[in-house]
């Protein structure tokens, strides 16, 4: 079978045109990136607000928890059935999928945001107030930067889930790398299926590494201890909660 995958990947015909690997890869990135962006635009502000004000936690947290329990395939079919007739052109294929991915991405991003703000050292908050900062100022200048590691952790976790789950969009006529999986499944072409699966796994790893890189440079050096030459205990924020926040639904 490995030989089959190598053959499939090595065939130049598979790299050209609309059905080719590069095009499908770009489509996959497009769906993933767009849904991640929208989810972040919704989830980060809400998460920050919950962490900052300490209110609404119970309701929103449980809602997010329930949202994790929604089966992606079922939601996809529901959205397609409901929205496809109402939309025209390619949007009819894209929007139902985007909704599923956004619903998937919101819980981990929101969790990262509010856990991050909640975890801010109270001394830092205190110092900020002592310097005369108001609520919004504290949030912007102190809490958000301090929360960044966990916010990024949430984004990273969401990105992985989205890239993996964007695969099932192909069942509803969408493009992306999932196309190789579904097309291969329908004609019993294991090489195509396995090749597609490998590409998706590799893409997920690359995306994860990219986020790790961004996280490294976006988080203030005072927090990550990057400028210190000797690592000290308590350097890396214990994002155990985030490491378990990573999960798949498709």
């Amino acid at each position: 079978m490995i030989a089959g995958i190598i053959d499939w990947l090595g065939d130049p015909a598979h790299w050209a045109g609309d059905d080719g690997i590069p095009h499908r890869l770009l489509e996959h990135l497009w769906y993933s990136g767009l849904s991640l962006l929208v989810a972040a635009l919704i989830a980060v502000p809400v998460g920050l607000a919950i962490g900052h004000t300490g209110r609404g936690r119970f309701f929103v947290v449980n809602l997010a928890g329930a949202a994790r329990a929604i089966p992606s395939l079922g939601l996809l079919f529901l959205m397609v059935l409901w929205l496809f007739p109402k939309l025209g052109g390619d949007a009819a294929f894209l929007v139902p999928n985007l909704i599923v991915l956004i619903v998937l991405a919101i819980p981990p991003i929101m969790a990262g945001a509010y856990a991050g703000v909640e975890g801010v050292d109270p001394a830092a908050r205190d110092a900020a107030k002592g310097m005369g900062m108001t609520g919004m100022g504290v949030l912007r200048k102190v809490e958000l930067p301090c929360a960044l590691p966990l916010v990024f952790s949430g984004l990273r976790s969401a990105a992985l889930q989205v890239v993996a789950t964007a695969t099932i969009g192909a069942i509803a006529g969408l493009g992306g790398l999932g196309r190789f999986l579904i097309d291969g499944l329908h004609v019993n072409d294991y090489s195509q299926m396995a090749g597609g699966a490998l590409l998706i796994a590799l893409l997920a790893l690359v995306v994860d590494a990219a986020f790790a890189l961004v996280q490294r440079y976006a988080v203030s050096p005072g927090l990550s201890g990057r400028f210190r030459t000797r690592p000290e205990p308590g350097d890396q924020p214990m994002d155990v909660e985030m490491s378990v926040g990573q999960h798949r639904v498709g």
């Binding site: 609309d18 397609v80 059935l81 496809f84 007739p85 939309l87 025209g88 052109g89 390619d90 009819a92 294929f93 192909a170 509803a172 006529g173 196309r179 579904i182 097309d183 499944l185 329908h186 004609v187 019993n188």
Partner: protein
Amino acid sequence: MKLSKVVLTVATAALMTTAACGSGSGNSPLDTSSSSSSGSGGGSGGITVGSADFPESQLLAEIYAGALQAKGVQVNKKLNIGAREAYIPALQDGSIDLIPEYTGVLTQYFNKQAKATDSEGVYTELKASLPAKLEVLDKSAAEDKDAVVMTKKKADELGAKSIADLKGKSKDLVFGGPPEWKTRPTGLPGLKKLYGLEFKSFRALDAGGPLTVAALKNGQIDAGDLFTTDPNIAKNDFVVLEDPQHLFAAQNVVPLITKAKDTDTITTALNAVSAKLDTQTLAALLTEVVVDKKDASAVAKEFLTKNGLA
């Protein structure tokens, strides 16, 4: 950790596992159609009926299953498997023993050089093309073919009454069909070979299902592959383009079965079913399942009772 706590945990886990295992292997009295974990047809003398992933195939499988059960055969159902390229291997490895099929496409699956297009010719060619372990029983009069379908508006716009009329115009058209049509001899390659059609693009959707219907209606595709018994064709006033070159050969419904699993009882029962099935009946039954939203098993039972087969 206290010993009692350890015992409690292990006991809970063991209990959950055995309970789940019990139901999973089909021992629960409520399990009527679960797939047995051994994979073979429910024990000695039993037979496993499979179906493809579209409602008509499920309906036919339910009819076959019901007819066999009425004659005392133990039946195990594994429905919704997928396209032919997925369930034929299941048939060959023993995961299923019987599946409703269509003579024309089945022949072409095993014999790329198949020539016949009429009912009898196709059936003869089919019997000669099957691998040694498989056989088909009597064919029924009921036919359900693939069809190239367009909205009335588009068909009128192009002045298209038959597939041949699309020649020269096809490169501006988007075609939608199941993913397997990209490579299937009776799919896009066939349209190219027999009618010289090359489309602007191909959209992989579903096997004559709601996606294809919706995409046709909404204009995401200009022509699509639907099945001739599909009630959505009439419902949406679609036009079925004629097929003068017989790309889609005769497609009589026929039971495909593993020879080793066939018995006289099974043959008689299924032949009796095939005798009572014709295209009009099949289309009407399918409408009950797809439009009236009745259960395939219920519609099957009604058909069998009405025809004295159950």
